[in-house]
């Protein structure tokens, strides 16, 4: 049996990344470091796309990118495979386990039996680690769960081949470590992660993503009450809150995790500016959470006036300004070593 250390994480992909690297002897990449090096922080309001009949909003970068970017920046080769045939996908997985290699798998949540029913939507970008097989039951380390769990071969095959948007197509991945990254590579990776995140949040074209996406969403929220009525507007806000706070973000739409990343980066690159910007992201996370409380007042039906929606939007304008200042400051830091 593979001796795999299950470390609970806030988010699935960063957790899988950090845990797989740890298993392969790299103990320097915590979850926040994986998140920051992978430039995980993001915001996007995807126009014209509805998820569960409400707007598609995300607080993180595209699924799969964090693992790939983090390993690339640390100069760790990555094996990543998708499959057409379901049986081939299971065979390949078994071979990895036979070779004592734990692997990351992308899965859909809807048929994931160990999740409570309330959380099982058709979301296909969940990640977990398969680290063993006993009596035709696969041993699963799902980083958002407190403990390891199990799935039958059939159950695992089903979630690996969930269908619909972002279908996993049996995707599995693992690092193939030849050389451990040294401190210099790690520092460079941190700087690269920060720069890419500055670009994504400040300079991504179009009004829907990055800091301008937050402002765009605020503008939308102001109009929701008039366009949709308070009830439907409430379900839209509930969806925003779920994307922001539901299992997998570490709270405040990943902003606290990013603040933790900057704080840990300071250990590697002692620039006081990193600490200051870390504090700004803590504040940003707190504003996001205040906005969630305001939103809940609306979707509980306790407050229903236009002024309540305006106040909700004001939180978002405020957080957009703060994050803009924070990323500008990050961009201006001389991160030399």
């Amino acid at each position: 049996m593979i001796d795999f250390k299950h470390i609970q994480s806030a988010h699935c992909e960063t957790g899988v990344t950090s845990n797989l690297l740890f298993h392969n002897g790299i103990d320097t990449i915590s979850e926040p470091l994986a998140f920051g090096i992978g430039s995980g922080l993001f915001f996007i309001y995807i126009p014209f796309l509805k998820v569960n009949h409400a707007p598609a909003i995300s607080f993180r970068t595209m699924p799969g990118m964090i693992f790939k970017r983090t390993c690339n920046a640390l100069k760790i080769p990555v094996i990543q495979k998708k499959f057409r045939s379901e049986s081939e996908a299971m065979e390949y997985l078994d071979q990895c386990i036979d070779k004592s290699k734990p692997v990351g798998c992308q899965v859909g949540v809807y048929y994931l039996t160990y999740f409570p029913k309330e959380y099982r939507f058709h979301f296909n970008a969940h990640n977990l680690v398969v680290f063993g097989k006993e009596n035709n039951r696969y041993l699963i380390s799902d980083p958002v769960m407190e403990n390891t769990t199990e799935l039958t071969g059939q159950e695992l095959q089903r979630v690996r081949f969930a269908k619909g948007p972002l279908a996993p197509k049996g995707q599995l991945y693992y690092p193939e470590i030849k050389e451990k990254p040294d401190e210099l590579i790690l520092r460079k990776a941190i700087v690269k992660g920060i720069k890419r995140n500055v670009r994504d949040m400040l300079y991504i074209p179009g009004p829907f993503a990055g800091v301008s996406g937050i402002r765009f969403t605020a503008g939308k929220i102001k109009k929701w009450r008039g366009q949709l009525g308070t009830k439907k507007a409430g379900t839209y806000l509930a969806q925003l809150v779920r994307m922001q706070e539901e299992i997998g973000t570490g709270g405040g739409g990943f902003r606290f995790m990013y603040a933790a990343f900057l704080e840990q980066s300071y250990q590697h690159i002692p620039n006081e500016g990193l600490k200051e910007v870390s504090e700004m992201f803590t504040e940003a996370g707190d504003i996001w959470r205040s906005s969630a409380v305001q939103a809940s007042g609306i979707f509980k039906g306790r407050i229903t006036e236009q002024s309540d929606f305006d106040l909700m939007a004001d939180y978002l304008y405020k957080v957009a300004d703060l994050e803009k200042t924070a990323f500008k400051k990050l961009a201006g830091l001389k991160l030399t070593f």
Binding site: A54, F121, H122, A167, F256, F299
Partner: protein, 137 residues
């Protein structure tokens, strides 16, 4: 968020797992701690589910009024949309939309019915006529 501000409210996850949160400790440094849940997001989840229940109820009414085939009801019941049904069954989206029509649905081959009932995990007979013998709500 400070560690002592991490909410510990009731949630649907209660007996399954606690969630990891990032928060500041007494010295202003980041650390992690577990949260049982947060009332704000439990309510958000509840709102999402009551919207689903409403859609399922509406679909049932449409089926009972013969405005729509049972396909719509099962699709809503399983939280799917036409795109997801298409991805699982291999039917084109336009075909599925056509199958919403009761008169088209009634003439579907048993092979097609079989594909749908397998996806929705029901007996083919129940799929074709889910509310027979049940009183109108």
């Amino acid at each position: 968020m400070k560690k002592n501000e991490i909410p510990q409210d009731k949630s649907a996850l209660e007996n399954v797992s606690k969630e990891l949160c990032y928060a500041l400790d007494e010295n202003g440094n980041y650390s992690t701690d577990l949260s049982k849940g947060w009332e704000v997001k439990s309510k958000a989840l509840e709102v999402a589910w009551s919207a689903i229940d409403e859609r399922v109820f509406d679909a049932k009414q449409k089926v009972l009024n013969r405005e729509c085939s049972p396909l719509l009801y099962f699709m809503e019941l399983k939280l799917m949309d036409v795109e997801i049904v298409s991805a699982y069954t291999g039917f084109w989206k336009w075909q599925i939309k056509r199958h919403f029509k009761p008169n088209v649905f009634e003439k579907l081959s048993s092979k097609k019915i079989g594909k749908y009932s397998k996806l929705f995990e029901v007996d083919p007979e129940e799929f074709k006529d889910p509310f027979s013998g049940k009183p109108k709500p």
